[in-house]
Symmetry: C2
Subunit: 315 residues, 2 copies
């Protein structure tokens, strides 16, 4: 059997290998993924994000166990855009070296920033497709940070779960403001700590500003470590899925996601076509030096390079 057939017949190692190939921009990997693409689209993709220390890994594990009890198969992609490691070295896997790792119905993969010429967002996107083709019911995409690239990653999921935690200090206000739009479901984890209910109320109040939307994101109090409230949280996530399905928004959302994905990919393609040219590299070094010496400015340089680029492509 070749790797395609293996993946279609649910071979875990073959799926893992294809993810690595695509991560490393192996052209064969991309061709295989392209050929298999029509087999994707069946898995439900749940993004999990929130500030560091919110307990996202533990919560993901508990949700996974619950889904396993319901007979569903699950993949977990732990994404850390700030990590130079990849392929399972850091975080996710280490923390999860427990009962989940021996469960055949669970596929775990960590992704870091190393070797992703196309950005971690593109690599994660490919990994989602591969695990979807390999065949799991639910894919969790868990991110470590709360920056723009993490948001870019989870906002391309079917449902996005935002995990908050009480007592993270002042900055939390700003985080909340920024993530309001991307959270479909909210969890306040470590709800046995002081201030949990207040945090939940604050999130709820901020949601009041989002008038005119059909779906009101629920805010759930959970204690992941103690497995408290995880079942209700999973129900909230599934309600959001039901809402998307019954309102027709599911296809709309996936179409929007596909659109932003191809825009990202074409930007990346163009970037590579600029940078892969070694003459460009030298020219860039020269121009950068002139900018620092103030004999030119970055805006004129960009105008000039853009014109040159158009001319090259037209040849």
């Amino acid at each position: 059997m070749d790797i395609k057939q293996k993946i279609l017949s649910h071979d875990k190692r073959a799926a893992a290998r294809l993810i690595s190939m695509v991560e490393n921009k192996d052209p064969e990997g991309l061709t295989i993924l392209k050929d298999l693409y029509s087999h994707s689209g069946n898995a439900y993709v749940i993004g999990i994000t929130g500030p560091p220390g919110a307990g996202k890994s533990t919560l993901t594990d508990k949700l996974t166990k619950l889904l396993r009890k319901q007979g569903k198969t699950v993949a977990i992609i732990a994404v850390d855009p700030t990590s130079p490691f990849t392929g399972g070295a850091i975080l996710g896997d280490r923390v999860r070296m427990n009962d989940l790792s021996t469960d055949k119905g669970v596929f775990i993969r960590s992704m870091g920033a190393r070797g992703h010429l196309g950005g971690i967002s593109e690599a994660t996107s490919a990994a989602i497709k591969i695990l979807d083709i390999y065949g799991v019911d639910v894919i969790f995409v868990e991110t470590v940070g709360v920056g723009q690239s993490e948001i870019d990653i989870v906002k391309n999921c079917d449902t996005t779960l935002m995990v908050m935690v009480p007592g993270l200090g002042d900055d939390i206000q700003a985080i909340k403001a920024g993530v309001m739009e991307i959270g479909d479901v909210f969890a306040v984890n470590k709800a046995d700590r002081d201030g949990a209910k207040r945090t939940a109320r604050e999130i709820d109040m901020m949601l009041d500003f989002n008038k005119g939307i059909d779906w009101r994101p629920p805010v759930n109090l959970v204690v992941a470590y103690e497995n408290q409230g995880v079942d209700v949280l999973l129900e909230s996530i599934m309600s959001h899925r039901d809402y998307l399905m019954s309102s027709g928004k599911f296809i709309e959302r996936r179409t929007n996601n596909a659109k932003s994905e191809i825009v990202e990919m074409i930007k990346e393609r163009i970037e590579r076509s600029i940078l892969d040219n070694s003459r460009n590299e030298e020219k860039l070094d020269d121009l950068s030096q002139q900018i620092v010496e103030r004999t030119t400015d970055p805006f004129s340089v960009v105008d000039q390079l853009f014109e040159a680029y158009k001319a090259t492509l037209g040849e």
Copy 2:
């Protein structure tokens, strides 16, 4: 006096107005900035980053006060890529509605994600230039998150200060791993808390892996709120500056920063030239739908769009 002359004669409101113009991609704003560019290059730019709740704002304020006592003028740019607000509404300014805001030698600006067609990184870069031309000795660029876009912002500074804090939980390991390369100086803030020394030791241990570099990033224990250790921290930052100056790395670094900036700008320019075309927009919608229906795949679509794009530019 026109806006250019006003900025050159140190008019705060004119500088603020130009930042807003550039934020809103007003072409006139970019032309003005281009004309004034040769007056830039004198301010020393210090990036401040670290996880939410690390106390970056307080620390920035204390460093600012110390510099003011030394007779230096300071600008603070508080960047929040996840905030939909801009121009001073959220965070930074609110927290700083204290003695600093009445000091004529301090310029404070908050930047959020709204209206930055070119990305917040490009807008921040422009704001740095404008404040440099306006004329301050030191510019602090403070970010709220720890994601990739925050790292992209601060890594373009002359010196990057990484603020850590004890007891942020598991995720901190991953954050540390990712930011090791960008921190020139480290601060462990809230050092009166348990575990501060251990956090400092851990950072120090991770720095041991970075062999073969001339500059060993110092790790400083501080309690910003109590103004403890802030003077030593400022000395560490200034030592890094001295190191850059005496080793010749200063020009090298600024040249590299200029290079990554023009690459970012040209990517952005090309992106706009793809998306500003309404026929493209419709076509994209169509193709996205076909992807979701699995009658095509994103990889073939990108191939096709890239060819079409080349053809258009060649016309």
